[in-house]
C-alpha cells in the first residue's frame, strides 16, 4: 500500500510538479549565471523560467489528451443524452457533460438555442453552460500540479455543485419566460428536428484534431501565460508577504469579495491565472480567495455574457450572473475556512 502511495507521489513530482525542472533551473541560475540564491532576483527568475516551461509543457500535453478524449463528446451527442433525463438528474448530467464537452464561448448561443429547441429545460442548458468554462479537464490537472489533488478534486466538486444548483434554481424560478422570444418561436416553428449528419472521425482525425487544438489554444494563450507567470514571479520574488497579507491575506474577510469582483470583468485564460494564484498562495493568501479569483475570471467572461445577452432577457442574464457570483463567493469562504484540511 505504501509502495503504491510512493509510486503516485513520485509520478506526481516528476510529471506534474516537475521538481527536477525546478532543481535544473536553480542549478542553471546559480552555477552558470552565478546569481545568489538569497536575492529577490533569484527568486523571481527561478520562478519565471521554471513556471513558464512547466506550464507550456503541461499545457501542450494536457490539451492534446483532453482534446482527444473530448472529440468523443460532441454537443450533438450531449444533446441526445440529455433529452433522456428528467428533473435534477438532467442538471447533474448536464453539468458533468459540460466539463468534458469542448466548445469555445462563441458556440454558447448555438448550443443554448439547440438545446432549447430540443426541448431541454433551460436550467439544464445553464447547468451545462456554467460548468463548461468553470471545470475543464486540462486546467484541473494543472491545478493539481500547482497545489495538490485534494484541491483540484474539491474544485471540480464545487464547480459541479454550483452548476447543478444554479441550473435547478433557474428552472424553479420559472425563468423560461425570460428567454428571448425568437428562441421560443424557433422551438415551436421548426418541424421534426433533422439530425445533422455528424462527420464520424477516425483515430487519425482525432489525433489531428487534438494537435490542431494544441496549436490553436497555445497561440491564443501563450501571452496570458507569460504575463501571468511574470506577475507571479514579481509577487514571488519582490513583493513582501506582509504587504500582500494586509490586502488579501485570509485574515481579511473581504478578500474573497475583492478577488471575485476583480475577477468577474477580467478576461484571461485560466492558464494565465494559475501562476498568479500559485505565487499568491505561497505568500499566504487564502486558497479560497485565490480560487474565487480564478473562478470569477473563467466562469463569467465579458465575451460570453455579451453573447448570452442576445438570447436571454436582462432579468435572466442577471439571475445567471448573480447565482454564479454567489456560488463563487461561497466557494471562496468555504475553501478559506477549510484550507487547513486541503493544503
Amino acid at each position: 500500500m505504501q509502495f503504491i502511495k510512493d509510486f503516485f507521489s513520485l509520478l506526481n513530482d516528476v510529471l506534474l510538479k516537475m521538481t527536477w525542472l525546478q532543481n535544473l533551473v536553480d542549478m542553471l541560475l546559480t552555477k552558470v549565471f552565478g546569481i545568489n540564491e538569497d536575492t529577490y532576483l533569484f527568486g523571481s527568475l527561478s520562478f519565471f523560467i521554471y513556471d513558464v516551461i512547466k506550464i507550456f509543457i503541461l499545457l501542450s500535453v494536457l490539451i492534446y489528451m483532453a482534446s482527444y478524449i473530448q472529440s468523443y463528446f460532441t454537443p450533438e451527442k450531449t444533446k441526445r443524452v440529455l433529452t433522456k433525463f428528467k428533473g435534477i438528474k438532467g442538471n447533474i448530467i448536464g453539468a458533468l457533460l459540460g466539463t468534458v464537452t469542448p466548445f469555445c464561448s462563441c458556440s454558447s448561443i448555438p448550443i443554448f438555442i439547440g438545446f432549447t429547441k430540443a426541448g431541454l429545460p433551460i436550467g439544464v442548458t445553464f447547468s451545462f453552460l456554467i460548468s463548461s468554462p468553470l471545470v475543464d479537464l486540462a486546467s484541473v490537472i494543472l491545478l493539481a500540479s500547482i497545489f495538490n489533488w485534494t484541491v483540484a478534486l474539491a474544485y471540480v466538486l464545487v464547480g459541479l455543485v454550483i452548476a447543478v444548483i444554479g441550473g435547478t434554481l433557474i428552472d424553479k424560478l420559472k425563468m423560461e419566460r425570460h428567454v428571448e422570444s425568437f428562441v421560443i418561436e424557433a422551438k415551436h416553428s421548426s418541424g421534426p428536428i433533422e439530425e445533422v449528419i455528424e462527420v464520424k472521425q477516425t483515430k487519425k482525425e482525432r489525433h489531428l484534431y487534438a494537435f490542431e487544438q494544441v496549436k490553436e489554444i497555445f497561440s491564443r494563450v501563450w501571452i496570458y501565460v507569460l504575463i501571468g507567470v511574470g506577475i507571479g514571479a514579481i509577487i514571488h520574488g519582490y513583493i513582501p508577504e506582509d504587504f500582500i497579507q494586509k490586502i488579501l491575506g485570509d485574515k481579511n474577510p473581504f478578500s474573497v469579495v475583492i478577488a471575485t469582483i476583480v475577477g468577474i470583468p477580467m478576461y484571461a485564460d485560466i492558464f494565465g491565472t494559475l501562476p498568479i494564484a500559485e505565487a499568491l498562495v505561497y505568500k499566504g493568501v487564502g486558497i479560497g480567495t485565490v480560487l474565487a479569483f480564478m473562478m470569477a475570471v473563467t466562469a463569467l467572461s465579458l465575451p460570453s455574457i455579451i453573447l448570452l445577452k442576445k438570447v436571454v432577457k436582462p432579468r435572466l442574464l442577471l439571475t445567471f450572473v448573480g447565482i454564479v457570483t454567489i456560488g463563487i463567493l461561497i466557494t471562496g469562504f468555504l475553501f478559506n475556512a477549510f484550507s487547513g484540511l486541503l493544503i
Binding site: P75, F103, C106, S107, P110, I113, G114, A186, I197
Partner: protein
Amino acid sequence: MIIKILGSGCSNCAKLASHAQDAVDMLNLEATIKKVTDMQEIMAYNILRTPAMVVDEKVLFSGQVLSAEKIAELLKNRS
C-alpha cells in the same frame, strides 16, 4: 453552388471561410461563398456549434474547422 459559412465572427469562422475558398479553387467549382453572422439566420440551420458549412441549404458539417483538402473531399462526395 452556394456555400454559406455560419459563425458569429470568431477567428475559426474566418479560417473555415478561407479553407472553403481554397477547396473551391482546388476543385474549380462554380460556387459563391457567403459568410453568415446573423444569429437568427444561423439558428434556422439547426446546428449546435459554430463554425458550420452549409452547401445549397444543407448542412455539410458543424463545429469543425476542416482543412481545405477534407472540405474538397466532402464536396466531391456529395455530388
